[in-house]
């Protein structure tokens, strides 16, 4: 498999526009264009710079994993995109949908480093095989005891790891979320240490259910859901699934993760969905399936994916490793 690795040899640094200038130039062009359109065609053209900024595009994907729609009806796009925990864009659920519009996701590079044979700065297309996208409908269980059913589009994380060739010593994968205060209106008031970091054990990362997500409902991933690249681990609480990933680091020591740094008594590294281990402030035994009113669903062990993943934790005390 041909892997294109961008190295500094391709282009001398002197010829690279610094990122902040690049961005402000884009802003300038956008503003200027918007002004021009506004001046000459207000109410006629009917589309502003948002059309370009949103960058909506259809993604072709074959459906590989589904749920029983009678038990787990899929949530609407509106529900999935207006109820988000993405603290860089505000701590209220409706904030990210309102405030993430300014996020620039093109170009996007992911720095891959640590214990890999092919480290480097990868473009999205270099990491994701867009010709082999899968649509997978997953249950998504938040640690706050609500859940949704979401049709993600992506590729197995293991296929991404294959491209960067982790070394034998690598035992953990760490994901770092974008840290760009200028485009993240909630950055100052998130109340958690940023950038957001998360991690997985290698066998969890390699598990076929672990999905590298680039799309939702047949479209490119919206900003508030973690554009352009996020991970989703369906048997773990939602906070394990890092959004807008800019760095993937392979390591031999267990990486720290943001919520466990913030409140170690309440959030751990594993964060497997588990009805028998309560959050100190609320029970995890039942959950509320949105947009329902009642917390009337029994939480399933490993969010219902136990058959596939329980063996990963054989012999572990899940009370201790919560």
């Amino acid at each position: 498999m041909l892997v294109k690795i961008r190295s500094s040899a391709d282009l001398p640094y002197s010829e690279v526009t610094p990122e902040h200038l690049y961005r402000s130039r884009r802003d300038f062009i956008k503003t200027a264009t918007a002004g021009a359109i506004g001046a000459f065609a207000a109410g006629v053209v009917g589309c502003g710079p948002e059309t370009e900024a949103a960058g909506q595009g259809a993604l072709a994907a074959k459906k590989t994993i589904n749920v029983d729609p009678a038990v787990d009806p899929v949530n609407t796009l509106e529900q999935i995109t207006t109820y988000n925990n993405y603290y860089e864009f505000g701590t209220r659920k409706a904030d990210p949908a309102r405030t993430s519009g300014r996020l620039t996701t093109k170009p996007w590079t992911v720095k891959v480093d640590g214990l890999v044979d092919k480290p480097g700065d990868y473009g999205l297309e270099d990491l994701i095989d867009f010709k082999n996208l899968e649509e997978r409908v997953y249950r998504h269980r938040c640690v706050e005891a609500w859940s949704m059913v979401i049709p993600w589009i992506g590729v197995p994380l293991s296929s991404v790891l294959d491209k960067v060739k982790p070394q034998g010593r690598a035992q953990f994968v760490e994901f770092t979320t974008l840290n760009r205060p200028t485009e993240m209106p909630g950055w100052n008031t998130a109340g958690i240490p940023l950038p957001y970091v998360e991690g997985l054990r290698m066998d969890e990362a390699r598990h076929p259910l672990t999905l590298m997500v680039v799309g939702l409902y047949g479209q490119v991933l919206p900003n508030q859901n973690g554009a352009p690249l996020r991970v989703h681990i369906p048997w773990k609480y939602g906070f394990k699934s890092g959004k807008s990933i800019v760095r993937i680091r392979l390591t031999d020591t267990m990486p720290r993760n943001t919520w466990a740094i913030q409140t170690p008594s309440e959030y751990g590294f594993y964060a497997n969905v588990n009805p028998t281990v309560d959050h100190p402030r609320w029970s995890q035994a039942r959950e509320q399936r949105l947009p329902g009113l009642f917390k009337d669903r029994q939480t399933l062990m490993f969010n219902g994916y136990g058959e596939q993943v329980a063996s990963l934790y054989a012999g572990m005390d899940l009370r201790k490793f919560f």
Binding site: E78, Y83, Y87, T91, A94, L293
Partner: protein, 227 residues
Amino acid sequence: MRSAWRGLQAALAAIVNWRFFKPAVFIACAIDLVWLSYDFYLVWTLKDTSALGVDPKKTLLHETGQTALLILLLTLSVTPFRRIFSVNGIIRVRRMLGVWSFTYALAHLSIYLGFDQLCFSAAGCQWHDIWQDIGKRPFIFMGMLAFTCLLLLALTSTTGWVRRLKKNWTRLHRLVYVAAAAAITHFVWIQKSDIREPLEWGTWLLGLLLFRIAWVVFKRRARTVVA
């Protein structure tokens, strides 16, 4: 300067002594509940399932809790307002505000019991979980404490009880400060990271407490001077 202050006092007195001031305050307190009830009706009858957002229970819980706290702090602000601006008429709405705060707190608790603990039917009600919540979760305990105080105060808010309890009524009703402090603690402890919102409420309560202390000290001094 002095005349401007007099003018302000007169204007406030005119508003407070207006014939429809009390009904106006009543309506203002009821608006949120009416609005939430209507949206709930839309959700419940499936006429508009998104009327209360993606998580209707959370919206209801948050709104009722927030309004209960707002009205509670307004209730506590009546006396400082009256003393600062010398508008005695404002006292007419104090009891009503207190009872409205209790009403919202009752709605708040009912939503938790009904939707989180499935108490819409006695059979479905998760008694064990409720008991565990109160015992194991400090924020739930604080909420229950605040509610219990408000319940006591609402029950003894009638003129009959004021007469029966005499001096003890004033003592008992100082519990309102316990209720407010417990409610704000309840609010702080449910936050995951961002505690600005409850802290703003806390600052308000702290201001009211400081005013009370300052007033007592001021009155004592005044008395000593006269003596």
